[in-house]
Amino acid sequence: MRSFIKKDLLIFLRDWKELLTVLLLPIVLVVVLNFAFAGLFDSDDEVTMDLQLAVVNQDNESEVLGQLKERLVHDAAFEEQEAKAVAEAAGEIQPVQLLSDYLESDEVKEWVTVHHLEEKAAAEKVKEGDLDGMLIIPQGYTADSLYANITGEPPTSSLIYKIEEETTTSSALQQFIQGFIEQLNYQFAIQEITDGTGIEAALPNGGLEDIGTAYDFTMTQYFTIALGALFALFVVATVAMKTGVEIRDHIFNRILLANSHPMRFLIGKMAAAVCLIVLQILFVLLVSHFMMGVFPDRSFVFWVGILLMVVLLAFVLSGLAAIYTAVLLRMTSIDAANGIFMLATLLFGTLGGGFFPIYMLPDWLQQIGVWTPNGLFLAILTEWIQFENPSTIVRPSMFMIGFFFLFTFIGLALFPKRGKAQ
């Protein structure tokens, strides 16, 4: 069996054109796409921006404790004494202070210049285009958000973000504010007003204990894993194509005549596919990572999880290689078979989000995407990169294992009994 795997690996590795394609092309694409999409989706790209933001504070912080206590007693039926204690404790958290700390932090200061203005002045400047946007902290906001936090009720007032027109800069600004909101992690909403029409957008809920456990999921990460998986599909198609050559060149016949069990040929293919895919994806992930810092500061466990998922995908795709091999042995035209494999690759690639971000597709298409091995792999890794929580990926991983068995089973079922259809 070793000799079967070895020759498949050798043959693949000798094909330097193919090798360059599956190893370097995805990395080049990650870099290119990363630049192409820079600023559109990510806030941490290498584009310099100087965003002008007006902050209008209509909240009076000295009244917060009183307001909060009052509301707790009236609306939430707290005892006077209790309400006072709770309000004092909650008062330690000062959202407005946190916001200005955030805007003044080194990270954000680089990008955003804050102007403290009255609402009217701010609105004028935004209108004239002097400022990119304004953020209004409405009256009673602090008390309201603290109250909401204590009682778990939805907040009644929210930060208001106003821009004159939707531009790259203004949406980048919005991302900063959103970044703050995520940091703050209260249950509240931000109101975005474009051209005077207000849209209420609710932000993800989450308790305080979640702070710091969710990582950002960047475009670069998306492209890296999506292209890694896409090119793994190409690896399988190439392995199949080389199997076609073996059959066309009668080498498979020679193997049969050696009285070697044809199953060795099939299993050798699968094993070689696993090796090649693991090496290929790890290469793409690691080189991208070291070039562009795709996964900064991640733990050992994170990388172990990545490795496991890659191996899992490799197994699933080796099942696909088994199907391809069986089909090749059954079809008379090897060219037609290769055509089918290319189509399958493009289909899986597209549905699985290999060619463009899957979340840009309509919902129903996204649903289908998860039914492709590469799409599922992408979904699992997206989850893992953000939350690094093993329990959330166990179920989809089971599906992956299911895929492996299903594909292998189909491959074996299609595999001609005597090794060759006649």
Partner: protein
């Protein structure tokens, strides 16, 4: 002993091999001769258990080899008509892989590879990729790949097509040596009469999927023992002369090339005296003439009315 009984194969209703009976006794060297499309390769594929016959039987030492292909696969080495090699691997790597499919390992494998390489004279190029080989070298490696496990029966399907005379001789001699020194049974397919004449004790002539003659070279030539073949060279030729030669009793075939006549006639015809007489009558000078011993090529011509490479 390997035997086929009424072996037939049809592809989509078209009969390609029909009621073929042949046998290979141990240690024999047997030739299978026939023009393109005669069904030689199809026959070889059936005998080597690669394809199933439509009807008929194949037995190996009395055991049905269609149900138990292992009987033949274990003891035979097949050199296919097409090159069955990995172009992207070196000769050594090819042999190593094929050797391993015969379950050869370690020292045993290394020795088998070395012997096979030396046998076909490729030892000095063993590290080069097959892709970079000449056609003849590829053919030689194609043969070496079938020898690793020292088969008792060696089946070769036109192993010398497109090879220069030198490589060809090398191959023929090598196969001959295997047959005579190691006692390997050989089934050799070709449409080159000379090769088969040189190599084989016995031969089968196939045409249109059927064996049309079989036997030792002598037996086959005896088919022509009733014929004379005469080659005549003259200083000039005219139609009338040729027409009159044709009317000589017993002459049944004439081939004219420039100033040469090839005449085939029944034995015992007083052909020569009649020819001399005719040349005088037409005032043609007879420059040269000789009687030829018939070859297997002539046997084929006689049986089918065509030459082997028509």
């Amino acid at each position: 002993m390997l035997e086929t009984i009424n072996l037939s194969k049809s592809f989509k209703g078209k009969k390609v091999v029909q009621d073929l009976n042949l046998y290979l006794a141990d240690g024999e060297s047997v030739g299978l001769l026939g023009p393109n499309g005669a069904g030689k390769s199809t026959t070889i594929s059936m005998i080597s258990t690669l394809i199933k016959p439509t009807s008929g039987r194949i037995t190996m030492n009395g055991v049905n080899a269609i149900d138990k292909p292992g009987e033949i696969r274990r003891v035979s080495g097949v050199v296919p008509q097409e090159l069955a090699l990995y172009q992207e691997l070196s000769a050594y790597e090819n042999l190593k892989f094929f050797g391993s499919t015969y379950k050869l390992r370690g020292k045993e494998l290394a020795k088998a590879i070395q012997q096979a390489l030396e046998f076909v004279g490729l030892d000095d190029r063993k590290k080069d990729l097959v892709r970079t080989y000449s056609g003849g070298m590829k053919r030689r490696l194609n043969i070496a790949s079938a020898l690793l496990h020292r088969p008792q029966i060696l089946i070769l399907d036109e192993p010398t097509v497109g090879i220069d005379p030198q490589s060809r001789n090398h191959i023929l001699e090598a196969v001959r040596a295997l047959n005579q020194q190691e006692g390997t049974t050989v089934l050799y397919t070709s449409h080159y009469m000379e090769e088969v004449e040189q190599l084989c004790d016995r031969l089968y002539i196939m045409d249109h999927g059927k064996v049309i003659a079989a036997g030792t070279k002598e037996e086959l030539l005896r088919i022509l023992s009733t014929e004379d073949k005469i080659k005549v060279e003259v200083n000039k030729l005219d139609e009338a002369f040729v027409e009159q030669v044709k009317t000589i009793e017993g002459v049944y075939k004439i081939e004219v090339t420039e100033l040469q006549l090839k005449i085939i006639a029944a034995k015992g015809t007083s052909l020569i005296s009649k020819l001399v007489h005719l040349t005088e009558k037409h005032q043609i000078q007879l420059l040269n003439f000789h009687t030829e011993t018939p070859s297997l090529e002539d046997v084929f011509l006689h049986l089918t009315g065509r030459t082997l490479r028509d």
